[in-house]
């Protein structure tokens, strides 16, 4: 589905990604782990299409077509949904109004009634409050957990092919993490989605059960393996990879 080949990128003349090779197929969940500033979020931004990255070598193909010339929104409309680590407050925009705007951009054919119906079902499924749609997106009326659940809701309602989650588990309240992770896992597995999950949390990965694990060190993928790898890394530390 997505194939990243020999990707090398800089931000402000500093190497942030070095010769990245990664292929993610439908039904696969790839965990990306690494110490701070190891390039995990830069990888997410490269897939997102953030122009801050100066990609001077390599290629990213999605469904066998290069997406290097595609803008951020074009990549999303192709079926790549990348979540942000830090979610900006959108003053004056309610969650439901934003969702309607997103679905309009996606040329969603459902009627408003059908959208409302599904939105209500998802709110319930994710354990959000009944007035969630009226809340202002990511402002102080929403907890950090609600903000992250809102991202998941948008993923579920737009049904992308590839999901890139950049530390979506960060700031989730401890007692909510299990349900949140299982919601993600069920969605990914039931719909055979491809996913790239950036995280520092062993517990989150225990719940998510990734099919592949990639360890990044200084902008490069240093180790690839199965679930055993992240368990070992958590015990031994990232220095064992360099």
């Amino acid at each position: 589905m997505i194939k990243i080949k020999n990707l090398t990128a800089k931000i402000k003349n500093i190497d942030v990604l070095k010769n990245i090779n990664l292929t993610v197929n439908p039904g696969e969940i790839h965990a990306i782990m690494g110490a701070r500033h190891s390039g995990k979020s830069s990888l997410a931004h490269a897939i997102l299409g953030n122009p801050i990255l100066d990609i001077h070598e390599g290629n990213i193909t999605f469904n066998r077509r290069s997406i290097m010339d595609k803008t951020i929104e074009q990549r999303n409309l192709l079926g790549i949904f990348t979540t942000f680590q830090y979610l900006p407050i959108l003053d004056g925009i309610s969650n439901f109004d934003l969702t309607k705007a997103i679905l309009k951009a996606h040329k969603d054919k459902r009627s408003l009634n059908e959208i409302e119906k599904e939105y209500k079902l998802l709110i319930k499924e994710l354990g959000l409050s009944s007035n969630h749609g009226h809340k202002i997106t990511n402002n102080e009326t929403m907890t950090a957990t609600e903000c992250k659940k809102n991202e998941l809701l948008q993923i579920m309602i737009t049904d992308p092919k590839l999901i890139v989650l950049d530390e979506i588990d960060a700031d989730i309240e401890e007692d909510e993490l299990e349900t949140f992770a299982l919601n993600i896992k069920n969605f990914l597995k039931n719909k055979k989605k491809a996913a790239i999950v950036i995280t520092h949390s062993k517990r989150f990965l225990d719940l998510l059960e990734p099919t592949h694990v990639n360890i990044m060190v200084q902008g490069a993928i240093q180790r690839k393996g199965s679930q055993e790898l992240y368990k070992r890394i958590v015990e031994d530390g990232y220095t064992q990879c360099s």
């Binding site: 997102l48 953030n50 803008t71 951020i72 929104e73 999303n76 409309l77 949904f81 990348t82 942000f84 830090y86 979610l87 900006p88 959108l90 003053d91 004056g92 925009i93 934003l98 705007a101 997103i102 951009a105 996606h106 948008q154 737009t158």
Partner: protein, 274 residues
Amino acid sequence: MAIHSVLKAEKGDPDWQFSPEDYFGKEFKIIDASTVEMGEGQNEKVVLRQNPTEKELLAKHLKISLQKNSILDLTILNELDSNLQQVFLYDIHINMGATLTLGLFVKDGMLNKHIIQVIQEEGSTFSTYGLISNTVEGDTEIVTKVIHKGPDSISNQVFLGIAGKESQTVYQGVAIAEVESEASQIGIENSNLIIGENGRCYSKPETYLDSEFSVCATGSETNTINPEKLGYLQSKGLSLEDSQNIIVNSFRDQVIGLITQDLIKEEVKEMYQD
């Protein structure tokens, strides 16, 4: 007021020394004068639409007088062509126990200046809010001076500014609690969004408390469109243009949402749709 001269005001940096006194009491050509007078205990909702077409730099004068315990909810919609210059003067007196809610939505003009002077008596309330917008390379300004003369009076001002390419907005708000106005409350809030290259938003909120037990709160901020917000919206499939529109519309809606009449709310939304 005698007609002797034409007021001169030029586009450029605002003169922070300016105060309504520079206009009030001076002689210049008044092309229109209106009075809104509310009798004792009267309660009204009024909408005024100002769409002047005069080509000279002229001034309009609106006198608003609220008698004891009256209530007026006044919304003013003002839109000016990019080649016109106008100055609007509002001379407002709010008597004991009266309440004025003033929504002021002003858009465009080469020079579009609104000068508001308010005198508040005991127990009166003045609540004003609105939008100052210019996207036609002109200058749109709201200048207020609120004087609390009586005790227990409340004034609250909430204005947003939007400046497009090579355009300018000015919000200058002064509120004074005079010695006799004990236990008065003053609030001034101004937030601005620059949406075009070389856009400028000037802001100068000021409060002076000369009375005992009076309190005030002021706040002002000016931002450009946050690229992170744009990227966030684009990452969900929205085009750059749609993302910008969503951010600007939601910024406007913060004050448009304060309009109490739904039909007027829609009219104001349409007025700002470019």
